[in-house]
């Protein structure tokens, strides 16, 4: 893999009237990478994808593909394949004609085209279905055909716009593995837009978390999950309890009347106001002693049954403290015989506490 990025986006800005859909986006994607644009609806992720495809024009900034400035190039000159959320299969053409649609534009010979179409249909697991019309196919099958059509011309970039939404849960999971597998085999650089964090975590090499037209964080799934750089990222990916606090000393913070140790968070001076956060699954219950670091006595205010685990609302004994959310496995619940109203001792491991600056 060369060090020069395959795709480079610099200062990309797109405005719709007074609304800024993309606000100075800078991004690099390496050859062969699988990148997910993740964010809530309206965050600009689809706008960014469409700008990269050339389907929508941007107002400022530039886009390079394989070292070539394509900022003003029409879509046809950009060398990518795209799968839309609505499958956008041509309803009047058969599956084979759909897959071969781009090959006709390349003036490929008929025999070569037919064998390529067969190859692609086999690749997406739909051999022998070429003569059907799209209406006859299930949603998952239509997605596969759309994928085959996008891959037919062997583009160096594959763009997927929420390709798995509108499919039922089981099909989603299966198709997501298949797409990932196919991408690895073909080594095609891929960008996928999604609002589903689980999908992004499971599929991406790197995730680009977006909010309000700007990039919040770029990183590997574990990076994003374990070291979110903003409260938004922390809250959007996984769940997090936030407390308002003040830094009282090196690696010590105070939230309300609770004083907590925190590890590994530097850069805040004593007296700085911070937001501290921790994930529900990091709260420890087993073998916690009163003298342990960050041990808290809490009352179980509510338990929400979620199958494999329970989400608990915990009220610290200290008056006026913010309730804490914790996830307890079914296993743990059974062992400790937990029930609402009970008072238990929990610990917030210092290394699990993250500090974020308070926005002015």
């Amino acid at each position: 893999m060369s060090t020069a990025p395959f795709l480079r986006v610099a200062g990309l800005t797109r405005r719709f009237g007074a609304f800024t859909a993309l606000d100075g986006i800078d991004l690099e994607v390496q050859r062969g990478e699988f990148v997910c644009f993740l964010g809530p609806s309206g965050c600009g992720k689809t706008t960014l994808l469409r700008a990269i495809a050339g389907l929508d024009r941007h107002d400022e900034g530039a886009i390079w593909m394989a070292g070539r400035d394509v900022s003003r190039a029409p879509p046809a000159e950009r060398d990518f394949g795209i799968v839309f959320q609505s499958y956008a299969l041509f309803p009047n053409l058969t599956v084979s004609q759909n897959v071969g649609y781009g090959l006709v534009n390349l003036r490929m010979r008929r025999a070569a085209r037919e064998s390529r179409v067969r190859e692609l249909l086999a690749l997406v697991g739909m051999p022998e279905q070429g003569t059907k019309y799209p209406v006859k196919l299930s949603g998952g099958q239509q997605k596969r055909v759309a994928l085959a059509r996008a891959l037919a011309t062997s583009p160096s970039l594959l763009l997927l716009d929420e390709p798995l939404s509108a499919l039922d849960a089981k099909v989603r999971v299966r198709l997501r593995e298949e797409i990932r597998d196919l991408q690895r085999r073909l080594g095609v650089t891929t960008i996928m837009v999604t609002h589903d964090q689980e999908e992004a975590l499971a599929m991406a090499d790197r995730i680009v978390v977006m909010n309000r037209g700007a990039i919040e964080q770029v990183g590997t799934p574990s990076d994003i999950y374990q070291r979110p750089v903003t409260p938004f990222v922390a809250d959007f990916i996984g769940a997090m309890t936030f407390l308002d606090g003040v830094v009282t000393g090196p690696q010590r913070v105070q939230a309300g009347s609770i004083v907590l140790d925190c590890a590994g968070e530097r850069g805040f001076l004593p007296g700085a106001r911070v937001k501290l956060g921790f994930r529900p699954e990091e709260i420890r219950v087993r073998g916690v002693q009163a003298q342990d670091a960050n041990a808290l006595s809490v009352r179980i205010d509510g338990l929400e049954f979620l199958g494999a685990y329970c989400r608990a609302r915990l009220a610290p004994d200290h008056a006026g403290a913010t309730p804490i959310t914790a996830d307890f496995s079914a296993n743990l619940m059974r062992d400790l015989g937990m029930a609402p109203g009970q008072t238990i001792l929990v610990a917030l491991p210092p290394e699990s506490i993250r500090l974020f600056p308070v926005e002015a």
């Binding site: 879509p75 000159e77 394949g81 795209i82 609505s86 041509f90 649609y101 534009n105 209406v135 011309t153």
Partner: protein, 572 residues
């Protein structure tokens, strides 16, 4: 607020006693559906049935089997008319459909400016009796016409005139269908094609045309039927060129040969029924083509194509407005082409016809009554069919009867009415020649389009309104009056104006039905044109056009200013 209080009263114990009415809600629904079926049978099915039976009888009413048809097809002049009709209709269709498609394409798929104006201009012929186009052509290309030379010695009276006038008259009908077909487009399909590097010609061939194919087919059949069955234009400009529609008129009105008139009516029915069946199949297919996740297409700026389309639309719209404008203008001048001094003398109808302005007022009354009664019947009928659950067979049959007039040309309905209501054995015989029969006939003639508008509006309403009402123990007629009608007000107004405009402009059905006291404006135009007082005919037609356009503008104004307030709940 009132509902809240009433609901509160029920909750706090002032619950109504179990109803002890003589009729249950279900029984009322059943009775109303029965009434609707009976009414539709009377105004639509029975007249058609009497047309069918008349065609297999001789003049004295004895059954003769298919002998009338044999006579028809062995009479050379009548068969010649059949060929004339088909030829004229085929030619007009071949010209109108591409014109309408291109025009619709410009309106829906380009970034041309003034789209609203262009659309309105092309719809102008809808507001005029069909024969106005023919009257205009006689001014332009007739014996005194200023462009007579453009015909290279050919006469406008005959097939040339018929085809040109029919093109103008049929254009808006084809346009509306093609606009509807082209307006529905999935923008993502175009993006997918673009991303795959497809040339515009191939995109047009593989995406645009297949999507609009059904509109093309459907509009071709609709135009063909319109032209074959139109009476006004060949009457005015046909000269010695006979067509089916004028034959029917001559057989029935001229020669009182009812059986032969019935045969011509049935021959006219054939293309119309075919068109109707094609239209139905095609519509079902069209819906299936567009998925729920489709994203509306937003046309891109294409400077060259946009300007070419603007020029094209300008030419077409200019021709339409110019042609109709000539007739309106001619109605305001003294004596074409020798004395062009402006005058209102042509509007002093008593100079030309003893009945004077009476036909205009009769038309106005007839159109207003048609709008009023027709809208009530159509909307209530559509509601019963769409929203009640009782008497499925009855509702199905009512739906069939409501769709039937679409397949039946006005001329044929008119013939059916003559045979049905003119029969001495019919107890409703006294209706013949009254204003009432004209109103009833017009309601029946234009029933289907109005019914479809109502049905569409009702389908868009939440199907659970009635269920909620039932759970609150409120009978459906209260829901109908309190919820359904107010919400559907724009559609109801649309239906009323549609019926009014068509009531004002129709010629083909009512030409058989008017009486001495109930001559309509459109019939007066035919008479004045026959008498050679073309300027008066143009004046009367202009009065109709202005009235019809006035009604449409009133509707637009009303929707904009009055209903905008009443329908405030629509705004989020």
């Amino acid at each position: 607020m009132a509902e809240a209080v009433a609901g509160g009263a029920i909750l706090t114990g002032a619950a109504p006693h179990p109803r002890r009415m003589s009729l249950s809600e279900a029984a009322v629904a059943r009775l109303l559906i029965l009434l609707l079926v009976a009414l539709l049978l009377g105004i639509i099915a029975l007249p058609l049935a009497s047309l069918l039976s008349k065609s297999v009888e001789d003049g004295s009413g004895a059954f003769v089997g298919l002998r009338n048809f044999a006579t028809y097809f062995s009479t050379p002049t009548l068969v010649a008319s059949l060929f004339n009709s088909v030829a004229v209709a085929a030619l007009a269709t071949a010209i109108v459909v591409p014109l309408a498609f291109t025009y619709a394409y410009a309106l829906t798929r380009s970034r041309m400016r003034l789209k609203g104006l262009f659309y309105a201009a092309a719809l102008l012929p809808v507001f005029a009796p069909s024969l106005l186009a023919a009257i205009s052509l006689t001014y332009i290309f007739g014996n005194q016409g200023f462009l007579r030379g453009a015909l290279f010695g050919n006469s406008i009276y005959g097939p040339i005139g018929i085809v040109i006038a029919e093109i103008l008259y049929a254009l808006p009908h084809a346009l509306v269908i093609n606009v509807a077909a082209l307006a529905l487009a999935d923008g993502r399909l175009y993006e997918a094609a673009e991303a795959l590097g497809t040339r515009p010609a191939r995109v047009f061939r593989t995406v645009t045309l297949p999507g609009a194919r059904y509109g093309l087919i459907s509009s071709a059949f609709v135009v063909f039927t319109l032209v074959v069955t139109d009476f006004g234009i060949p009457k005015v400009i046909g000269g010695q060129f006979n067509v089916l529609a004028t034959d029917a008129y001559k057989q029935v009105v001229g020669q009182q040969n009812f059986p032969m008139g019935a045969v011509v009516g049935i021959v006219l029915l054939a293309p119309a029924i075919l068109a109707f069946l094609v239209e139905r199949t095609v519509q079902r297919r069209q819906v299936a083509l567009l998925s729920a996740r489709a994203v509306p297409l937003e046309p891109k700026r294409r400077p060259l194509a946009d300007s070419l389309l603007t020029v094209f639309c300008g030419l077409v719209a200019g021709t339409v407005i110019g042609t109709y404008g000539v007739a309106v203008w001619a109605s305001f001048i003294t004596y074409w082409p020798y004395n062009l001094t402006p005058t209102l003398a042509n509007y002093d109808f008593e100079r030309f016809e003893p009945s004077g302005w009476d036909p205009y007022w009769t038309s106005l009354k007839m159109a207003a009554l048609t709008a009023l009664l027709g809208t009530g019947l159509v909307f209530t009928g559509a509601y019963l069919i769409e929203k009640t659950k009782q008497f499925g067979a009855g509702r199905f049959f009512a739906q069939f009867l409501a769709m039937l007039p679409m397949a039946v040309p006005g001329l044929v309905i008119g013939l059916g009415y003559v045979f049905f209501f003119n029969a001495p054995s019919n107890p409703l015989n006294w209706l013949y020649g009254t204003l009432a029969i004209l109103v009833i006939n017009s309601v029946a003639h234009f029933y289907t389009v109005a019914h479809m508008t109502a049905t569409t509006a009702l389908k868009n309403l939440d199907g659970e309104f009635e269920a909620v009402s039932a759970s609150l123990k409120i009978p459906f007629w209260v829901t109908f009056a309190r919820v359904t009608v107010p919400i559907s007000m724009p559609a109801i107004l649309d239906i009323a104006v549609y019926l009014f405009v068509n009531g004002m402009t129709t010629v083909s059905a009512v030409i058989f039905l008017y009486g001495a006291e109930t001559k309509l404006a459109s019939v007066a135009i035919v008479h004045m044109d026959e008498a050679g007082t073309t300027s008066a005919a143009a004046a009367m037609a202009s009065a109709i056009v202005l009235t019809a356009i006035g009604a449409k503008l009133a509707q637009l104004g009303l929707s904009r200013f009055v209903f905008a307030r009443l329908q405030r709940w629509r705004v989020r």
